[in-house]
Amino acid sequence: MFAGQASPVLPVGRRWSRDRLLRNLVLGTPLVWAVVFMFIPYLIIFTYSFWLKKYPTFVPAFQFGNYAQLFADPQYYQVLLRTAKIALAVSLSSLLLAYPFAYYLVFILKSPRLRLMLYMAVIAPLWVSYLLRAYIWKTILGNEGVINSFLVYVGILDRPTDIFLYNQFSMVLTLTYIFIPFMVMPIYTALEKIPRNLIEASKDLGVGPLGTLFKVIVPLSLPGIFAGMTFAFCLTFGDFVAPFLVGGPDGVMVANVITSQYGAALNWPLGSALAIVMLIIVLGIIELSDRVERAGRINLA
């Protein structure tokens, strides 16, 4: 639209320059922004990840010591493994809750009004502060929290227990709570796109409801499932707020380690190497989910 639609009244030279200006502005602004605030900063972390820690700060170098340390020192690779495990648990548990919910909205609920209301109800918590949603679970699960004091009050427990908070269970619970809306949105969209006649055809061919679910509906909604799981996995993978609030000593995640390397430990090269590893994992997951989505599209066509 920016070329060749200018008013015919303008002389050719001026028309060209004004169109060029608009085009350059439209493309140039975001391009410059992406280069200055994204590409160059990532390049800087990448460079730092090869530098050497030397008291009191760090010096330029080109060596793989930081990466070697990440994969040799159990302290670090165990954190990476644990983070991946928790991120996987969070994406699976939010999938298990979100899928039936989205399925119910799309296929069972008859009233469009109620459908919209329930959809809004599950999306609305996204607008409520992230920090608060993690904080709420700290106040519910804690030693002096709502559940403990309630159980003591009704006489089920003699005294408060520590089993609810500061472990991996509380982390998975809290993060699942946070990421359910992210999971419902893409699954809902994917389910809505499934042509109804495919489901009827499956029924007409004598396939039972469960068969239809697992052979027709689930495969066709895979793009939504993968999009939701990508969100939940990647965002959990890089979270340091929930681990800080509800995760105990065995709930430290990669982002917490990066935070401490950039803070108290003042080992920016090691922190940068960890950030690069995180970046590569996230990019890998996005690529994977893109491929699956593309494959799914071809299947349908």
Binding site: M1, Q5, A6, S7, L10, R18, L22, L25, V26, L27, T29, P30, L31, A34, V36, F37, M38, P41, I44, I45, Y48, A98, P100, Y103, Y104, M120, A121, V122, A124, P125, W127, S129, L131, L132, Y135, I136, W137, K138, T139, I140, G142, E144, V146, S149, Y153, Y177, P209, T230, F231, C234, G238, L245, A255, I258, T259, Y262, S272, A275, M278, V282
Partner: protein, 268 residues
């Protein structure tokens, strides 16, 4: 399969589903109710049984200078971050929708990356940039950080809207003698208003709530979430519940406003 058996099965199926829906909804909302209830509870601990009713935590909150300053800072950051995301994100969406250029795929990836990229990476990478350039940390560096992280939100929403936009409108405008920039401001932008408003409201909310980027890019000034975060490190108090309740109320208000604005758009 007999009719009676099908309907019995259906009823069991529907019953199970209703149960699942109720579970998910209560999982989402019971904690929020608990948050609100304890903000009115006349006790400094968040334990059962509830004490009496009090406005005390709210009174305490409104006389808390640091908190009020943090709220002011958050409004400042969210406002300017939203303006920047629109100024950069809308052209980016246009470029992706209308222009062909070398490196478009890389550009798309880079611009959309922060949607799933953990905030901590945006935070430390920009911290490195500012340190290297000798720029001191302040609320302005936070604004730049938030804008970078949130441009992706504007791009996805505006891009989706542009794809559905009827190109004939622009051709008609051009045929009637409108210059490209007139078409842009008088035809295209008014037609994608709902996406602009929606993404601006979402950017504002997310910026207001942002922690990971702010954590690394702020100087001495606190935003509201950073203030709450530092209060939490000292321990749990019902005052946080009171702030939280107000945030929930404000969020509800924003949702209602955006629904109304977007509905107006559709009816026209």
């Amino acid at each position: 399969m007999s009719f009676a058996r099908t309907s019995a099965l259906d009823r069991i199926g529907t019953g199970t589903f209703t149960l699942v829906i109720l579970c998910v909804l209560s999982f989402l909302y019971v904690p929020i109710v608990i948050l609100v209830v304890f903000s009115f509870n006349d006790s400094s601990s968040l334990t059962w049984p509830l004490g009496g009713f009090t406005w005390g935590w709210y009174e305490k909150l409104f006389s808390n200078r640091d908190l009020l300053r943090a709220i002011g800072n958050s409004f400042y950051v969210a406002t300017f971050a939203t303006i920047l995301t629109l100024l950069v994100g809308v052209p980016a969406a246009f470029a992706l929708d209308r222009l062909d250029f070398v490196g478009k795929r890389v550009f798309r990836r880079l611009v959309l990356l922060p949607l799933v990229l953990p905030g901590i990476i945006t935070g430390i990478s920009m911290l490195n940039l500012f340190k290297l350039m000798g720029i001191g940390l302040s609320l302005e560096t936070v604004v730049l950080g938030h804008a970078t992280a949130l441009i992706s939100i504007v791009v996805t929403q505006v891009y989706a809207r542009l794809q559905r936009l009827n190109r004939r409108l622009e051709e008609a405008a051009a045929d009637l003698g409108a210059k490209p920039w007139e078409t842009m401001f008088l035809v295209v932008l008014p037609n994608i208003k709902s996406a602009l408003i929606g993404s601006a409201l979402l950017s504002f909310t997310l910026s207001f709530d942002e922690i990971p980027v702010t954590f690394f890019l702020t100087g001495r000034d606190n935003t509201l979430p950073m203030y709450i975060w530092s209060t939490m490190r000292r321990g749990i108090t019902p005052e946080i519940n009171a702030v939280g309740t107000l945030i929930v109320l404000a969020s509800l208000l924003l949702i209602v406003v955006s629904v109304i604005l977007l509905r107006d758009e559709q009816e026209r």
